[in-house]
């Protein structure tokens, strides 16, 4: 073997002298066609659709699996997908879905009602990942197969947002999963880095922490919007952790689209020929949550003082203008959103007025501001806050925390810090997704770190989620929004824009705000070759 190695080294040396560093290719080509390279910072540890989700994971899940419905467009709309049509009973408890008969899993099996039933049962029984969305309203026994292509869901109680969660419940092929089951694990071990889906792509190379490749399915049952001719051979999701490296990769054409550049980078790279910035209004809200039950921030006047002292313009500047201030606890793109009049904006006189009314008229206190370690923008906003509160003689201690520790501390009134910066992305377009954060039943969750307690609001939220009448709900949500703003359980921050930088030859990019930060629908993408 060594002889062979040595001989080969010699040959390689010869080759090396003739081959210089190959110039960066415009985009990757293989013998099967063009491959799109997505440069992202976040790895995909577990692909199993019922176990884990975050933006990178869900982007690939979305590519290899199909769900009953799919969100598309801006503003996001629910589109039929595996389910061609559906109906609901008058009491809002029973939902029946009719499946597309052409849908096929990658191994050729048809997507049947049983597969849907099994997938939902699996998600509920594993009690991980997406389970929280439905488990309070749907039991595994409530799902029944009517015929091969009809499936029925019986909810425990009417639940208006039900439909809005379905796009995140992907359908797996029960035959394949069962074949790989170990010790009754519902095939969890196998699905970690394998897939049993029916989506437009199937898995290619899987090199954890390095890259994940999906290959397009030739005869995808739903067809290809860009036309079969333009269909890319596949997509490589390449882990590039450093923004500088991402930028370099994009400039050299090693990546066709990247996410996660710094706000300043986007401004800079916009000027590079051949690079296009996708800049869209998002749904991720940013708030500085007060602990309303304990410590100085239990004092509403102090909370108001802080809210009026904050330099809101600086929040926008942190994003180089790619953000808009919140006008309500609900994001603008959400159904039922109303612009609440009298949202606090910087007004030092008013801030001092409130401070004088509070128990800390002279300031002289130090409040912690906790953010997730590594989240740059949250840290910068901390600096803005620090700067803004100086006139009130309030000192801010900026404390980064690991996410698990932050969540653990934030689950109890006693340990929850006075101020915590929290980004929340609603997973559905239904207002309940955000409103419920202000329900007392949410206490203990990271987004409920303010321990907001207003029985009237809780009551209205309960009423709204049980109602099937949209007009009634819309009115309730308007009241809820106004009341929350009045109570100031948090500083309502801004909605940051979603941004990507891509090469101009990358076509078909479709934005939808309901997706997570960084997440892209890979299905319609294609490369326009000269």
């Amino acid at each position: 073997m060594f002889g062979k190695i040595i001989r080969n080294i010699a040959i390689a040396g010869l080759l090396a002298s003739s081959v210089l560093a190959s110039p960066a290719a415009a985009f990757e080509r293989t013998d099967k066609g063009n491959v799109i390279v997505f440069g992202g910072r976040q790895a995909i540890p577990v692909l199993d659709p019922h176990v884990r989700y975050d933006w990178s994971t869900r982007m690939i899940q979305q590519a290899v699996y199909d769900a009953l419905l799919k969100y598309e467009g801006d503003p996001a709309e629910l589109k039929p997908w595996l389910a061609e049509k559906w109906e609901t009973s008058a009491d809002g408890k029973t939902w029946t879905f009719h499946l597309a008969k052409t849908a096929k899993f990658h191994n050729g099996d048809p997507v049947t009602a049983e597969a849907v039933r099994y997938s939902f049962e699996r998600g509920l029984k594993l009690n991980k990942g997406v389970a929280w969305m439905l488990k309070d309203f749907l039991a595994p026994e409530g799902i029944s197969v009517v015929d091969d292509y009809t499936v029925k869901f019986d909810l425990k109680a009417p639940y208006a947002p039900f439909l809005s969660f379905l796009p995140w419940w992907y359908i797996v092929n029960p035959a394949e999963v069962k074949a790989h089951e170990v010790d009754g694990d519902y095939g969890q071990k196998w699905l970690t880095d394998h897939a049993a889906g029916s989506g437009p792509f199937k898995l290619g190379r899987w090199e954890p922490n390095v890259l994940y490749e999906v290959e397009s399915v030739q005869n995808y049952w739903k067809g290809w919007p860009q036309g079969d001719k333009n269909r890319p051979a596949g997509v490589i999701f390449k882990i590039i952790r450093e923004p500088a490296a991402q930028k370099a990769a994009l400039q050299r054409g090693e990546a066709d689209i990247v996410e996660g550049l710094t706000p300043d980078d986007y401004v800079q790279i916009k000027r590079v020929p051949g690079v296009v910035i996708e800049d869209h209004k998002g749904m991720t809200t940013f708030g500085i949550k007060f602990n309303t039950q304990k410590g100085p921030t239990a004092d509403i006047n102090l909370r108001k003082a802080i809210a009026y002292a904050l330099d809101y313009d600086a929040l926008i500047q942190v994003y180089n203008g790619a953000a808009t201030l919140e006008t309500s606890p609900l994001p603008d793109a959400m159904k039922g959103h109303v612009a609440v009049p009298g949202m606090p904006r910087k007004d030092l006189a008013k801030a001092k007025e409130y401070l004088a009314k509070s128990g800390y008229a002279k300031g002289g206190i130090t409040l912690p501001y906790v953010h997730v370690a590594g989240l740059e923008e949250a840290r910068r906003i901390g600096l803005v806050l620090l700067d803004s509160l100086k006139p009130l003689n309030i000192n801010v201690e900026i404390k980064p925390e690991q996410w698990p520790n932050m969540v653990a501390n934030g689950s109890k009134v006693e340990t929850s810090p006075a101020m915590t910066s929290v980004y929340t992305t609603p997973v559905s377009t239904d207002p309940d997704a955000v409103a419920y954060q202000y329900h007392k039943a949410s206490w203990g969750q990271y987004y409920a770190m303010m321990f907001y307690d207003n029985p009237k609001v809780s009551e209205m939220i309960d009423k709204a989620r049980g109602s099937t009448n949209w007009d009634e709900r819309a009115k309730l949500y308007a009241d809820i929004q106004t009341q929350i703003v009045a109570d100031q359980p948090e500083v309502f921050g801004m909605l940051q824009n979603r941004r990507w930088a891509r090469r101009d030859y990358l076509q078909g990019f479709k934005f939808s705000p309901v997706r997570f930060t960084g997440e892209v629908d890979l299905y319609p993408l294609w490369v326009k070759a000269e």
Partner: protein, 335 residues
């Protein structure tokens, strides 16, 4: 010899257990709930509990410790809570990349460091000596992460001579795995283009990693050479008319190699530790990067696993150094 080997093995096992216990205790003293991270942002309390039970995190710390040590005896490093996979499997997958990087860096360090050390010892207090001195101390003082970024910008972004990061170009499929070292595997399968590109990829990280190591090898070698060149037997060799070159390159070097070898062993461990920085900068998919990303998500089993693995490589390297010592020094051979 057999008792020697047996004793070494015993020490190795003992040290491994010690390291495992140490890192387990260290990483478990603080609060922190990785189960929450894994369960996802919207998970309810009972969903988090499901995960805790699954990973045995609901048990008391002493219980967890006993379970962990018991598993360790069977060669099981536990399960990563983030990737859900056995840590042993993952560590073994990432280890070759790290080893390849460390080997290349070490080779660079030795090939450059030893002759430079020799030269500056021979021309002690000359201009070359002064230059290498500043150079070598700079090597130790350079922050690897910063240096890596600067090199990346210069050679990859600005000049475009070398790739920015990673081990291989995106579409290049890695050669069939034999050793896990791409440079070797590509040669075995005769894929010269792959060999060449993977060589291009490894240059920058290897240079960054090897720089401090090169510097200290150089310094030790220089110091030793100076001492050896002053020693009586070298004076004698000179007095007996042996040619200067032969004295330096053969007689003195062999004697000076002993402490240099010790330094190489030491630096090997140091390099393994520094991969956490270099691999982060260069997106090099090795155990260092694995450790950092696990540490950042409070996933401690992989951190312990990597620490153990690094300790293991380090001990093995030092054992090899001991053997090399005995090979070079006849006084140790007979003892």
């Amino acid at each position: 010899m057999l008792t020697f080997a047996f004793r070494k093995l015993l020490t190795l096992v003992g040290t491994m257990i010690g390291i495992a216990a140490l890192t387990f205790l260290i990483t478990n003293v603080a609060p922190g709930d990785p189960a929450r991270l894994v369960a996802g942002p919207n998970a309810t309390e009972d969903m988090v509990a499901t995960i805790r039970t699954e990973y045995g995190l609901d048990k008391s710390l002493p219980e967890q410790f006993i379970v962990y040590m018991g598993d360790l005896m069977r060669g099981d490093l536990g399960q990563s809570i983030v990737t859900t996979r056995p840590v042993m499997e993952e560590v073994l997958r990432y280890a070759p990349a790290t080893l390849e990087l460390v080997f290349v860096a070490m080779a660079l360090g030795i090939v450059v460091g030893v002759p430079l050390g020799m030269l500056s010892a021979v021309y002690k207090d000359g201009p070359l000596d002064h230059v290498t001195r500043i150079f070598s101390i700079s090597g130790v003082a350079l922050p690897a992460f910063w240096f890596g970024i600067i090199l990346q910008l210069m050679f990859a972004v600005d000049l475009g001579w070398l790739p920015v990061s990673g081990r291989l170009p995106l579409v290049t499929r890695p050669p069939e795995t034999v050793t896990g070292l791409l440079l070797v595997d590509s040669l075995i399968s005769g894929r010269f283009q792959t060999f060449w590109t993977s060589l291009q990829h490894i240059i920058l990280p290897a240079v960054v990693l090897s720089f401090p190591c090169l510097a200290s090898i150089l310094r030790v070698n220089r110091a030793e050479m100076i001492e050896v060149l002053q020693s009586d037997y070298i004076v004698a060799a000179r007095a007996h008319g042996i040619a200067s070159f032969r004295i330096v390159a053969l007689y003195a070097l062999k004697n000076a190699m002993l402490p240099t070898l010790a330094m190489i062993g030491l630096r090997f461990g140091w390099m393994l530790g520094s991969t956490v920085l270099v691999e982060t900068v260069f997106d090099w998919p090795g155990i260092g990067l694995y450790a950092v990303s696990s540490a950042l998500s409070s996933d401690f089993k992989p951190v312990i696993g990597v620490t153990l693995m690094i300790g293991f490589f380090f001990i093995v390297a030092n054992t090899l150094v001991d053997l090399a010592y005995a090979w070079i020094d006849p006084r140790l051979r007979s003892a």
